[in-house]
């Protein structure tokens, strides 16, 4: 290990932060760019399943909340693309990679939102799982990523609570509303558990990310925390978690849960989930149909700077 690398590792081991212009191993840079880009893509693709319900929200109050939440997710994407750019990545290139299917986003956003209860379940479960993943990242060794995560985490709590509140209303509503709530939990539970990524024995790069201070807890540790936090909430709602093997272990103080269907996870990852093609097509169309706005803004800016020079 040469002096630069030693200095880098000492900073990381001492819980210090690496800043954009510091020396860093190329693998660290590449890993971060990939992870932050994937995270940014998840935020902006994640606008789609919920955006689907903005025009059909059940009240003006719910609609205003949903618009604010979806707008936050756009903001999260922008914070993250900004963090990736401090590592030398180019935003246009990252978007091109997303559009070409060469960079991934979270598998969870490839499931459809077929009822209003799905919007509620997403806030509660998907944002809840995102919080579990993101809170440790506020202490990530890369400064700009950690700072972006602090901002994101401050906003996520509202996302989870609004979902839980909306689901509480349904769970205490008419029999039809209760069925909607239960149905949403049935469909979103397992995909939410998959959000933490493959199990530890199938997660080859985890050890390196831990040594670099990018990752603080393993996928399985975070998944367990999520289950422990969420199952009592489901019970409070009077809903049933769709896992016949789920039980509380008095000795460990943790919930034991059933086997995750990893075949489904890897299939969705490969592009074969219910909505993969639709999500990407919608994203590409939004980008292409917005081209004239970017061109007009650039033309306007050029015209004005030319006038300033002339004046």
């Amino acid at each position: 290990m040469d002096a630069l690398e030693q200095q880098f590792q000492d900073t990381v081991d001492g819980d210090g932060r690496i800043e954009p212009r510091d020396w860093m191993p190329e693998g660290y840079r590449a890993t971060l760019i990939r992870q932050i880009a994937q995270h940014a893509h998840s935020e902006i693709i994640g606008m789609q399943p919920e955006g689907n319900w903005i025009t059909r929200a059940p009240s003006l109050r719910r609609k205003a909340i949903l618009v604010a939440k979806v707008q936050d997710e756009a903001g999260h994407g922008l914070y993250l693309y900004g963090a990736a750019e401090t590592l030398g990545a180019d935003r246009d290139e990252l978007l091109d990679l997303l559009h070409a299917g060469k960079q991934k986003y979270s598998t969870i956003f490839n499931y459809p939102t077929v009822s209003w209860a799905d919007v509620a379940a997403i806030g509660w479960l998907v944002d809840g799982a995102a919080i579990m993943n993101q809170v440790p990242l506020t202490r990530c060794s890369y400064g700009p990523y950690a700072r972006a995560m602090i901002r994101v985490c401050k906003e996520e709590s509202f996302h989870q609570r609004q979902g839980f509140e909306a689901l509480t209303v349904l769970a205490n509503g008419s029999p039809a509303q209760r069925r909607m709530a239960q149905d949403a939990l049935n469909r979103w539970w397992w995909p939410s558990l998959m959000m933490f990524g493959p199990s530890d024995d199938n997660s080859p790069n985890s050890a390196r990310s831990m040594a670099w201070g990018i990752k603080r807890f393993s996928n399985d540790e975070l998944r367990q925390r999520f289950v422990d936090a969420t199952v009592p909430q489901a019970e409070w709602l009077g809903l049933t978690v769709p896992d016949p093997d789920l039980r509380y272990d008095e000795e460990t103080g943790h919930y034991v849960f059933g086997e995750i269907d990893w075949t489904e996870f890897f299939e969705v990852m490969k592009g074969n989930g219910p909505c993969n093609r639709q999500r990407l097509a919608t994203r590409v169309a939004a980008h292409e149909e917005g081209a004239w706005v970017r061109e007009a803004a650039a033309a306007y800016a050029a015209k004005h700077s030319a006038r300033e020079v002339a004046a």
């Binding site: 212009r21 903001g75 900004g82 803004a297 306007y300």
Partner: protein, 102 residues
């Protein structure tokens, strides 16, 4: 000395660094960066991106290429002149316990 960022454009839009004053009496603090075609749009985008919950009462935007920064090394000789001047701190001086208000 060098500029802090390589010049970057996204879809022809330059990168801007954003500084937000959270309330009167406090300094502007770096909040992050964004792309915008001109200063006017950069300010509007910064408002939408960094002050959606009244986090600020004033915003500065600066073209990233206009920021000039010192080298990133914490042990840089650039900061050496301050290293051996402990007498600039009040703790350098002995004041007897019985002397008050100093």
């Amino acid at each position: 000395m060098s500029t802090s960022q390589p010049p970057k454009t996204s879809s022809g839009s330059p990168l801007w660094e954003v500084f937000v004053r959270s309330k009167r009496g406090l300094s502007h603090t770096h909040a992050g960066s964004l792309h915008a075609p001109d200063a006017h749009m950069a300010l509007r985008n910064a408002r939408d991106l960094f002050t959606r919950r009244q986090e600020g009462v004033s915003i500065w935007v600066v073209r990233a290429t206009d920021v000039v920064a010192s080298s990133p090394d914490e042990k840089d000789p650039f900061f050496d002149p301050a290293g051996d001047k402990v007498y600039r701190h009040p703790t350098f001086y002995d004041v007897p316990d019985e002397v008050q208000h100093i």
